[in-house]
Symmetry: C2
Subunit: 305 residues, 2 copies
Amino acid sequence: MNPIDGKAEETKKMLIVGGTGGTGSWFARFFKGQGFLVSVWGPSGKVEVAERLGVSFASDLPAEVAASDVVLLSVPIQETAKVIEEIAPRMKPGSLLMDVTSLKRGPMEAMLRWAPQGVEVLGTHPMFGPTIPTLRGQTVILVPATGRCDFWLSPMEEIFREGGARVEILEAEEHDRIMAVVQALTHFAYISIGSTLRSLDFDVARSRRFMSPVYEIMIDFVGRILAQSPELYASIQENPEARRVREAYIHECERLSKLADEGDTSGFMEAMNSAADHFSGTEDALARSDRLISLWIDRREDGRR
Amino acid sequence: MNPIDGKAEETKKMLIVGGTGGTGSWFARFFKGQGFLVSVWGPSGKVEVAERLGVSFASDLPAEVAASDVVLLSVPIQETAKVIEEIAPRMKPGSLLMDVTSLKRGPMEAMLRWAPQGVEVLGTHPMFGPTIPTLRGQTVILVPATGRCDFWLSPMEEIFREGGARVEILEAEEHDRIMAVVQALTHFAYISIGSTLRSLDFDVARSRRFMSPVYEIMIDFVGRILAQSPELYASIQENPEARRVREAYIHECERLSKLADEGDTSGFMEAMNSAADHFSGTEDALARSDRLISLWIDRREDGRR
């Protein structure tokens, strides 16, 4: 059964703008697998990518926009506003406009401004990169436009859930506020560690001989982030909410460092205790990370045999 | 065969000062399993702990010190110097003095100062906590005193290796310099994140609904550290080398944050690229963390069924 309208004979047309990139290609494969008739468009005519994906290339972009039931924008965040302005006004009534950027307030405002009344708007934030094999265990955050996402919200939720994802619904403001911690602070701390290793001229490869699993896992996450698109990570830091979070982080780093510099052991312990009280669930976190470390050691030792 | 001297009939006596604590008890069990005749001592006479461990309690501490082949000190780092001054002078020629603190320069200086000539000295840093089930895949760093660890180094190495550990030999200065990054920086970044979540009054439990695996794993490591002894974590920050590392980290945080504040995308990307160049092996780190994330998702999704 077609999850969109219950009628198997009615195939929906989806255009993915930026569908020749990594993330766009992932979505092209995914939605094709879900029964959509997918076409993709990318700059400088990447027809061969479309062929490899087994979908059509939207040579006549304006005509394709006007004919599509869903337009999904998968372009770098810096270009999103410009692309929305160009694409959205050409969409047909009853169709759906989606983006897949990591921020939601700006793109939602632009989509609501440029999409004609009658076009639905669904902000989408897939919490994963294009290297994942399936949606299983991944999170997709949806930001439906108030009063302008009545038809499409349920079928899209169902499609992602059927693929194995957990779907969460948020408003744009709260999304950006939460992501300033969940994404921006996480990445910022790791990137800053990577940058510190460079500034200290620290021998990372040699240090692996002396590592604890906590360090080993951390250092691999630092490497993981440094291996990926600097453009994406830079854009996540440009979340307006992230500035406040980075300031708070640097402030806490300075406060704790001062306590340690002064040998104020009890002050440092007090800071840790109050962080633990706020965190809540530290024992669960300890148990979960113990299991993760065991899995990690099993993998590594198996690999050595 | 007894790994210490090849003669099964000669059982070596080991005294563990602080052997009634978590780490000390772990070593009591371990060395008992390796054929040592273990006794433990702890403040305020914890005879019942010794009974539970199936070892004797050293009621007459000075006599026990004088009679032991190995004395292992497992006391909080703040007390290590004082305990060494009290214990070491009473040791017999040919015996071995070991500590198991996370720093090496200070304890080595104290052990070399207070242990009589003829007593060997082996700084020891187990890179694990007492919750680990076995030594498999764990690292033990040994710091043999130059010219004063000729007899005991090989048998101790062999004992740890037979238990499954990887053994690394370092000098005290290099040990402390490396640990200022491997332990102190790792913990500092995580503790500062925990403290930031408190200062922002951020709802950690709710945020789990919106997490990516990178965030989920990080947040569990934050919780893991906050769940454990603040005293231990405070003492690791008191590594004199750690101050310089924290300063470098805060400096990099400020530099990167400024680039993001100013919307200097290319500056931020350049900082990431040069950190990646220095790191080397980012692709391996990406692949290893991909596998870890898959294991993590498998575990979590299995738990949900």
